[in-house]
């Protein structure tokens, strides 16, 4: 009889302890976010010849802020490089953006007509300075 009471007590205590523990253990929480997921690339089929080939380099979409001048950015900047060069930058002062666009024309020979270059500068200043850029 005494043994039986003890074992019941033990079971009751055990359940109580488990309750305490589970209050501390957060388990099995899953999030619906798609973060971090990606598809595997298909392996390249090689031929035993002298040509050494890899598949094309992926160009993921770039999330540029909508606004006046975006079309000019997409036309002119895209000629030589992906506009990800813009979104990768930290927020830059207005004068720095102006200097960057001027560098593309003067140093790198981008030949963006002056009017369009000004539109690109205004776009970058409107969305990518410390005052204007948003996460």
């Amino acid at each position: 009889m005494k043994n039986r009471v003890q074992s019941i007590l033990l079971v009751v205590c055990g359940v109580a302890m488990a309750g305490l523990l589970s209050a501390d253990l957060k388990k099995g929480y899953y999030s619906p976010a798609e973060l971090g997921s990606l598809w595997q690339a298909k392996p390249v089929e090689h031929l035993p010849d002298s040509n050494y080939q890899v598949s094309e380099y992926p160009v993921p979409p770039v999330d540029l802020t909508r606004g006046d001048g975006l079309q000019d950015v997409q036309i002119y900047c895209n000629t030589c490089h992906s506009p990800r060069y813009i979104t990768m930058q930290p927020p830059l002062p207005a004068a720095t953006w102006e200097a960057e666009v001027n560098k593309m024309n003067k140093t790198f020979g981008a030949a963006i007509p002056e009017e369009d270059a000004q539109k690109i500068i205004r776009y970058l200043q409107a969305h990518y300075t410390p005052e204007t850029r948003k996460q």
Partner: protein
């Protein structure tokens, strides 16, 4: 960072379902993916950019992307390709090829090279211009192997204050490999450098859309004829015992031991001896650093045109803590292993020290295997935090020329030469 932050709230049906057995699985069964998410996901992603303050993360904050012959790496730009190596790949002295960072300047980079047509050409101010196929490079010359760190000039650029434009690298624009190939000196000797030559210029297969001759159409780098490093350079066709990944410069790449990667021309195809100094953009304007201690200057001095510059050169001494990386708490009283890497372009790393008290005292560490003066050197130590709290672990290296890391920041307009003492915050919790 938010390990103890409670789970974000959910709504309606999902709140009930999710509480029982996990929102993702349940929502998938019900086909509710689209109804979910959008407003919750951004809170959990790392920020999409850093600044105007310094990037507080070890790596850059770009998304992961899988490029040909690579594991998922951190994307800086996709056209041309710039990829950063995540921190944990630096646990070992040699960086795996598939995780090795990538940095191109111009968008025209090869997807394919036909070795039937490709030849390495040695031309310009030489007695006998030459061209070698890959087979000839492998068979006619005795192969040499050398471990050397390849670090981008702008590695850690995202630390600078004020921030400067350019590739916003964290610390992962570096890697170490065992490079095998032909000594550059042998190739130059066979061709015969004519008297009065000033520089040797290197050109690879990358091209851009800019007008001919400008920096936007061609990438050219040169080294002075009298620079002793020419005697150490290797034209490498093997990287860690494998052909080079296309993105790292297949079929051959120039290895310039101890120097920044800008000189390590990928897909090297033309070696050109010059009778005049190289005036192209990538020598005269790009990749130049102030001719001052540690390449330091100020925005004010730059504005006033006071800064004399020189082409970037050797790698200043650096060291990194790779583990612990702050992703987990450490229970007080537990002895954990500190591990990392160190290197210097000026000589063998002789000492790596760690501090957990803001640099008041420094504790020595054990250095790993020695693969030569230009390699990563791994290091290891033990650390037992006695009480809970927030600790800052600092690490500094010293090389055989007694160059050591400083705790002062570096600033120059190109965002080069960062080598300040690195720190890692570690949270220590109660063990009972």
């Amino acid at each position: 960072m938010n390990a103890t932050k409670p789970c974000p709230s959910r709504r309606g049906l999902l709140k009930i379902l999710g509480a029982a057995s996990g929102g993702l699985a349940v929502s998938r069964w019900l086909g509710l993916d689209l109804a979910l998410g959008q407003d919750e996901a951004p809170g959990k992603a790392v920020e999409t950019f850093t600044g105007p303050g310094p990037n507080a993360h070890w790596n850059s904050v770009g998304p992961y992307v899988t490029e040909p012959q690579k594991v998922p790496l951190l994307l800086l730009t996709d056209r041309p390709v710039q990829l950063e190596t995540p921190r944990h790949y630096f646990r070992t002295a040699f960086t795996p090829n598939e995780a090795f960072y990538v940095r191109w300047h111009l968008e025209g980079i090869p997807n394919a090279v036909d070795l039937k047509n490709w030849k390495l050409q040695i031309e310009g101010n030489v007695n006998k211009p030459l061209a070698f196929s890959l087979l000839e490079l492998m068979q006619k010359f005795k192969p040499v192997s050398l471990a050397a760190v390849n670090q981008c000039s702008g590695n850690s650029r995202s630390r600078l204050q004020p921030r400067v434009p350019g590739g916003q690298w964290g610390n992962g624009a570096m890697g170490n490999a065992m490079w095998t190939g032909v000594r550059l000196r042998e190739l130059l000797d066979i061709a015969g450098i004519k008297k009065g030559s000033l520089q040797v210029q290197f050109q690879g297969l990358e091209t851009g859309h800019g007008p001919q001759g400008l920096g936007s159409s061609i990438f050219l780098k040169s080294l002075d004829i009298g620079n002793p490093v020419l005697g150490e350079c290797v034209v490498a066709y093997l990287m860690n015992g494998e052909p080079l990944p296309m993105l790292n410069g297949f079929p051959v790449r120039l290895v310039v031991p101890g120097y920044f990667a800008t000189y390590w021309t990928k897909c090297l195809t033309w070696i050109r001896v010059l009778a005049a100094s190289d005036e192209n953009f990538w020598m005269k304007t790009g990749y130049r650093v102030p001719d001052t201690a540690r390449g330091n200057t100020t925005p004010e001095d730059v504005k006033q045109g006071k800064v004399k510059t020189v082409p970037i050169g050797r790698l200043p001494v650096r060291s990194f803590l790779i583990s612990p990386d702050g992703s987990c708490k450490i229970p007080a009283g537990m002895t954990v292993t500190l591990q990392g890497i160190a290197f210097s372009g000026f000589g063998r790393v002789e000492r790596v020290e760690v501090s957990d008290d803001q640099g008041k005292s420094w504790m020595g560490t054990r250095l790993g295997d020695d693969y030569g003066a230009y390699s990563f050197r791994t290091w290891e130590g033990s650390w037992t935090p006695k009480s809970p709290g927030r600790y800052s672990l600092a690490v500094r290296a010293t090389d055989e020329k007694n160059n050591t890391q400083s705790d002062e920041a570096v600033w120059n307009p190109g965002g080069y030469l960062w080598n300040r003492i690195e720190r890692q915050e570690v949270v220590v919790g109660n063990a009972s």
